[in-house]
Amino acid sequence: MTDKKTGMAREKLVNIHVNGTACEITVPAWRTLLEVLRELGHVEVKCGCEKGDCGACAVLLDGEVVDSCLTLAWNADRRSVMTVQGLGGPGKAHPLQTAFIEHGGAQCGYCTPGMILAAKALLDDIPNPSLDDIKRGLSGNLCRCTGYTRIFSAIRAAAQALRQEGGTS
């Protein structure tokens, strides 16, 4: 759809690779990646504030963790998005997921999808993070249930598992 007065595109066909699958959707400029992902059925991406305060909506955009509520869908055009479902699932769990399950890193679970992706980005950057690195890496992801302690221990366990994996393969 083009605006008659300005000749500017008001809507655009964007092509987003979500967890490896190409998704096409026509959206106006003001739609956020969060809205579009949820519209595409990726309701594992949660919404807690829509303004960058909570991190529940965090996804990886070309490997970088962003708040999808502050990312325009147009900005994800021809880029790849990973949600927590893309990280792994039953039978093919990512070490972070295994560790979150084993350590009890999720209580109500609402912060969990964003938390795990922030953790993934952290471990991609710093494979052997200190406790301070972990705290800094998660400071944009609020959790009201756990007190974060089990999340920290899960991330340390996952980091170790990932390093061992890396070491053997």
């Binding site: 008001r10 003001w30 303004k51 963790v65 147009w74």
Partner: protein
Amino acid sequence: MLPSFELLEPHSLDEALKMLATSEATPLAGGTNLLPDLRAHGRAGRRFISLAALDQLRGVEHKGNRVIMGGSTTLNDILRDPLMPKAAPSLVSMAKVFAGTMIRNAATIAGNICYGSPSADAIPPLLSVDAEVTLTSAAGERTLPLDSFLLGYKKTAHQPDELLKTVAWTIPAADSANLFYKLGRRRGDAITVVGVAVTVVIESGSCSKARIALGSVAPTVFRAKEAENILIGGPLTAATIDQAALTAAQASRPIDDIRASAEYRRHAVHMLVRRLLTQAWQTSGAKQHD
């Protein structure tokens, strides 16, 4: 839910500048200021120019003792730059306590500066290293000290047709210290109650240059120049430091808000400036003895 808007997506800096010159549009960088504002109380139908595709605006160049940082450099880029801890230690300390990871990945240095908020965390460190900003438009380029770029509450010298292209500064001298502290109501992801950056340069046991930049305690981030002058020309004794800190506190024009009272903020300026100057004197002094 965001109100409707139009978004132009230039692919080059020239194209962007042409768009800015010919249409009334606002640059959109990381969007971490603009989008929450729009969502909270934005009117529909505005026009933005996305800077996302302009790679030439992003990145840090180290040229001898000069650092040139593109406007679209993100806060996380600063943390990832291996040379930055030397080039501007206060900027790195600041980036570590700036928002959370996701915001640090999106938020840009130009956005932080051009939004002109008194609580903009990147500005005190940049003022403390005498940064200059280069603004570019279809008509040409101009460079001015960051200090004179900031005019008032959310008011800067930025013209509607301009983009902030780079922020540049000279790496502080060897015998110097450059420190930052952010006081917030919680440790992570907080809006600054008082932000302080200081630089102290020491030459043969005497302070040859001092910078004190303060955030969140006046309509705009500012340098407490009178306080800086007190420090010049001698060793930094406890008395001199305290006098400078008190002067900085008096130069502050804070307000009461939900985070703290004006009175407390002034007190905190006094305490934090004193503390950082003391640390700066000790660390830079220590360097001299090496």
